[in-house]
Amino acid sequence: MTAPAATDGLPAEFRPQRSRADIIFRGVLMACAGSVLAIILGILFFLSLRSRLAWDHRGFGTLTGTLWSPSQRVYGLRGDLIGSVVIAVVALLLAAPIAIAVSLAINEYLPLRLRPPMVALVDLLAAVPSLIYGLWGLYFLNGHLFLLSKWLGHHGAAFPLFRLVSGAPTQQSEFDAGVVVAVMILPLMTSISREIMSQVPREDCEAALALGGTRWGMIVDVVLPFSRNGVISGALLAFGRALGETIAVAFVLGQTSVVTSHILNQGGGSMSAAIANYFAGSSKLEQSSLTLGALALFVGTLSVGVLARLTVARTARKAAR
């Protein structure tokens, strides 16, 4: 897109001579850009290095084992890894429809005067640290949400995941953690999908309205098809963020690190919260096992992020055509 690129195809005698200063300059820029890649590779390398101990100890068993027992020197992370995914899925299921509704409301429904402040509010909420969400989840939401959990358990028991263990508390559950994370990722997903939806060609929308379509008809036939990939990629990015959320989950979840199908009951696991909770002051092998889990989490979130990026790239190509 820049001028220098345009000269690359010219015959040698017309190509501008790069001075030594320019070559050095390019080298410096390239080194800076390369440092981003270097950090990713460095993370991969050092996490692998430090998880060798756990790998030699049990291999894949560390990731798939269900028992976490320091006294028996057995460390299994299945409960934490599955818990992370469950929390992220709960969060995404709650946040995605609302995020789409909010971005549609901001772009198509709200009075024009209210739109810029709403956008600013959403962006601001995306910048609120997860610690604050965690505090709120622990002290406010936990005191109210267990009523909802009980209600869901009583009336939604037909759905297997909503079954309650009778007598067990319904606080600090994976569902609660999911709700807090949903509140956290809502602004993130909203701001991404709003951004994409605002790029829908206005002429297309006006054409749909001029043909006599209703506003909903315009959304279904013009806005959503155009922005579909962007919304999916926003959801993926939000999912990745939810997967790695640490502090809010560490606050809200009553971590037991076991595999549970009772998402409304107290307990459950989360990989990132396990690192925050158990890492300091644990044995070498335990730390190494947690690092192996972190490596799995890292690979998981990174691939979700790359997937999201590829989805958006497809939209960009489609728009360019």
Partner: protein, 391 residues
Amino acid sequence: MTILAGPPDGPLSTGGTVLPGVAPGPEDHPRRVAFDRQRVIELSASGVSAAALVWTPFHLLGLNAPFGFFVCWFTAYATIYGIVVRQRYGPIEFKDALATFMITAGLLVALLPLILLTTYVIGKGFATFKAGLPGFPLLTKDFAHFSTTSKITDGGFKAALIGSMEQVGVATIPAVVIGVLAATYINEIGGRFAGAVRMTADAMTGLPSIIAGLFVYSFWVLPRAPHGFSGLAASMALFVVMLPVVVRTAEEVLRLVAGSLREAALALGAPEWRMVLQVVIPTARTGLVTAALLGVARAFGETAPVILTAFGSPRTQWNLAAGPQDDLPFRIYTLVRSPGAQNVQIAWGGALLLMVVILTLFTLARVLGTGRPGVRRGGALLARLRRPTKA
């Protein structure tokens, strides 16, 4: 371009004559009119009748279930409103009205927790602030002489604030320099490598921040154990968190710089490095400051990377490199996790402090970032290129 379409439940207004039932909107409003009397009546009547319909059996059966009532009421409301609209205007308008109803409900559902959160945090934090008046123990004391029997006014975030500022400050300088230069590479030079860097930076913004902490712990803290924990290590972890944020934002900002400015600079005979450093980057200056501020705001609020690196210290520790240092989010985290009601109360004061810092940084970034990159200033910058460089 005046497209005056009527509301979904009203007739089309044609040629400026506003037909009955259509509220007159602003003249150049390209959308449908959002409100009219008919719809307000339909909406409120449906709501009230749904409430009455649901309240009767709940009252007769003596049920006291707020969630159940709300769910039943909402379902009844949507159903009654749907039936009304369908009867009056037909199936197409019915879909539109129901969608509007659901989207509005979604917006309210989204706003509810956000309002609850803000008021709760501000309320709790303010109470702690007031308990410390007169004098601001929250800002002037640390936790060196704090025990489980201490009062709320005996501890404060002096050490934590000093630590946070030092750590974030030291992380910011390399993150901004390297981040902006990396963004410049992606935007000005391009190519396959730039694409890879961009995608990596993008994926890295979603990197769980605890992994940044674990990374620094693995390569810096652990080899130096037991003296590895320090504010410097926290700075490194925060650098890892900030870098992708700065790269992505700076790249978006640089993309807005007009290509003609670059061409003009090159046409005047400027070498590439002067084009970038003296025209492109100064033109995007305010936007780049925004990018930096957003990065700082992100780093300032991060707890997870600090847990495994700074380790925290109740005493005020000015030296970044000498052993464990405190950090604001980390101190709040620790207070909440340790027993004692007064700890939690102080933590709320810290949470409010943190909110204020983030809000200030964010507002600053917003105010600076609203203007487009100075296209007009570009001319002056180009004029400077004609003169021989002084340095």
